[in-house]
């Protein structure tokens, strides 16, 4: 099996997905099949093939550095469950982050 149940649980945790034991069993099988297919591709000799960076055959799509109108604060906050002083309110955070 190219992927274990504990791998699946780890990846699910990173993606904040709550999986039942049945789902873990099923996904381990399905992801295993996908990874098995990838493993087959790994055996091909692709030394002279450029990796596909993007399905579109385009490069250098950029925009000029010009200010464009955004949202009003009212619109920006319109769907927030809770706001205070013009800011989004979020529950207390346990553990670190802020890793930019």
């Amino acid at each position: 099996m190219p992927i274990s149940e504990s791998d699946v649980r780890h990846v699910a945790m990173l993606a904040r997905l709550a999986l039942s034991d049945e789902q873990v069993t099923q996904l381990t099988e399905e992801l295993g099949a996908i990874l098995g297919h990838i493993d087959e591709l790994q055996h091909l000799d692709l030394a002279d093939v450029q990796p596909t960076a993007h399905p579109l055959d385009m490069t250098n799509v950029m925009r000029p550095d010009e200010v464009r109108p955004g949202l009003t604060r009212e619109d920006a906050l319109a769907n927030a469950p809770q706001t205070e002083d013009g800011a989004f309110v979020v529950p207390p955070i346990v553990g670190g982050g802020d890793d930019a």
Partner: protein
């Protein structure tokens, strides 16, 4: 943290330090992937749009100017510029990242493999205990009092900054124990360069000097305002120690939250000693992120560092790759301004300044420009005299007023005028300083101040001789002692004459007259 404690530890252990420096591209008018303006502060959530709020279906488009700035930064630090590069998604969950991923770069950054040379002098040079040996082996250049070390740049990549959070409740806005947090996305999406150095730094002083040097280069480029207080320049450090002579690497910790150059130095000094104490006690270093507490002057553990693969980077499907040409890179290189090292060399070669003056002047781009403007007004033959004024009186005035060279009421033209008046003998040095202070107070031109106050240096020998005779007559004991060999009394006589002439006498003439009379 006592410096001798650091020295004691560094005699037994060598520190291995690498820096990660985030710089907001404040020169950019708009954010990295949307047209919202880049600015500091303001009312929360007033510079936002569907892209930087991470709303479903919004399409980020990269800002060409921010990419050019990053390539310029790479060229200024001697990096190779990638001909093929792209953005990746870095996945993590945190409320300041509304998309739940950050658009960053992974294995194909814009810039890689650069270098920055860093001069280390003054008392901090002594932190490098092995500098004698390193100078002999050619690892360092210069001498034991002022050496130069070359720090490798691993990469510079471009990403988007996060939003800002304010923690409410609990103790003093600290995250631990907060009741809830407020999120402001004004900063989210600001173009952010991340520069990573090789682990080439060996002392806290070298780390500080590197960060200062990089700031000078960025300011000369104009890519960012580099304000550590406002967070547009943020320095994190990876540090480990190993026994002297060992070649393997010890377990490293990452130190964050150093918001001044002094904090960077002090946090590293603390962390090196802390790690040595753990090892000396037979313990092991935990790989972790530690927070510098500037008040308590210590670092404390924040969290265990996630493994890199937990970010699950993958190519950003919303953007196509970048293919740059040598011609495009060369055209950008043509836009590079003169950088601090080149300017320093020119000040020495063309203006004949001592290296030390050139280092001080070019440590601050605004100061160097001020100096050049003043020299242009005073004439190149007065460059050394102008340098003395700029690094002395003028720098002290900027320090006291807490302003930059371009904000001083003493314009380069006014300073040039003062230098000419003193250099040409119209004013004594002391009178020159008086005029300098008067320009700051009144904003008047130096010539007008001289006129108004009737300040003229007296060089007329007859006038000075009369005063000298009075002073000698009034101090017969000192005259006798001088003639008995107490020649150190010359300063006393000069002082008496100057006092009587209210500082307006030409000191050279006073000296000559005194010598003739006492000889």
């Amino acid at each position: 943290m006592a410096a001798d404690r650091l020295t004691d530890v560094m005699e037994r252990y060598e520190a291995v330090i690498g820096l990660e420096i985030h710089t907001e591209i404040t020169a950019s008018r708009t954010k990295m992937f949307c047209g919202c303006p880049v600015a500091f502060g303001g009312e929360p959530n007033t510079r936002v749009c569907p892209v930087c709020l991470g709303m479903p279906g919004a399409l980020p488009v990269p800002n060409e100017a921010a990419i050019e700035w990053t390539v310029l930064a790479g060229l200024a630090t001697e990096c190779d510029i990638a001909l093929w590069s792209q953005f990746h998604r870095k996945q993590y969950f945190y409320p300041d990242m509304p998309k739940d991923y950050q658009i960053s770069q992974y294995d194909l950054p814009f810039c890689s493999d650069g270098r920055v040379s860093v001069e280390v002098d003054g008392p901090g040079a002594a932190e490098r205990l092995d500098r004698g040996h390193a100078l002999e082996s050619g690892l360092l250049t210069g001498d034991a009092e002022a050496y130069t070390t070359v720090i490798g740049i691993t990469r510079i990549h471009l990403e988007e900054d996060t939003g800002k959070m304010v923690h409410v409740g609990g103790a003093e806005g600290r995250i631990a124990g907060a009741d809830y947090s407020l999120v402001d996305f004004n900063r989210a999406g600001t173009p952010l360069m991340e520069l990573v150095t090789e682990p080439d730094i060996r002392t806290p002083e070298e780390a500080r000097r590197f960060a200062q040097k990089l700031r000078q280069i960025w300011l000369a480029l104009g890519v960012s305002d580099c304000s550590m207080e406002e967070g547009s320049l943020r320095v994190d450090a990876n540090v480990s120690i190993r026994p002297r002579g060992a070649t393997g690497l010890g377990t490293k910790t990452e130190v964050k939250n150093m918001n001044s150059f002094k904090s960077l130095h002090d946090a590293l000094a603390y962390e090196i000693v802390r790690q040595a104490e753990v090892l000396d006690a037979g313990g092991v270093i935990q790989q972790e992120t530690r927070h510098w507490d500037v008040g308590a002057k210590r670092t404390s553990a924040l969290r265990s560092k996630e493994e890199a693969h937990d970010y699950r980077y993958f190519p950003e499907p919303d953007m196509v790759p970048f293919q740059f040409t040598e011609e495009w890179i060369a055209a950008l290189a043509g836009r590079l301004p003169e950088l601090p090292d080149a300017r320093k060399a020119r000040f020495v070669a063309e203006l004949g300044l001592p290296a030390q003056d050139a280092v001080v002047l070019t440590s601050d781009t605004a100061l160097a420009t001020y100096f050049e403007d003043a020299v242009a007004a005073a004439g190149a033959e007065r460059a050394k005299a102008v340098a003395n004024w700029v690094t002395g009186e003028f720098a002290a005035h900027l320090n006291a007023a807490g302003i930059g060279a371009d904000a001083s009421p003493v314009t380069p033209g006014a300073l040039a005028e003062i230098v000419e008046l003193v250099d040409g003998g119209t004013l004594s040095a002391r009178q020159g300083r008086e005029v300098f202070s008067a320009v700051i107070e009144t904003g008047m031109a130096p010539s007008a101040i001289v006129e108004q106050r009737g300040m003229r240096q007296v060089s007329d020998s007859a006038a000075i001789e009369a005063v000298v005779d009075r002073v000698l007559a009034a101090n017969p004991d000192e005259v006798a002692r001088y003639r008995d060999g107490k020649t150190g009394l010359m300063g006393f006589f000069v002082g008496q004459v100057m006092k009587e002439m209210r500082g307006q006498a030409n000191p050279g003439v006073v000296n000559d007259v005194l010598r003739a009379r006492l000889g």
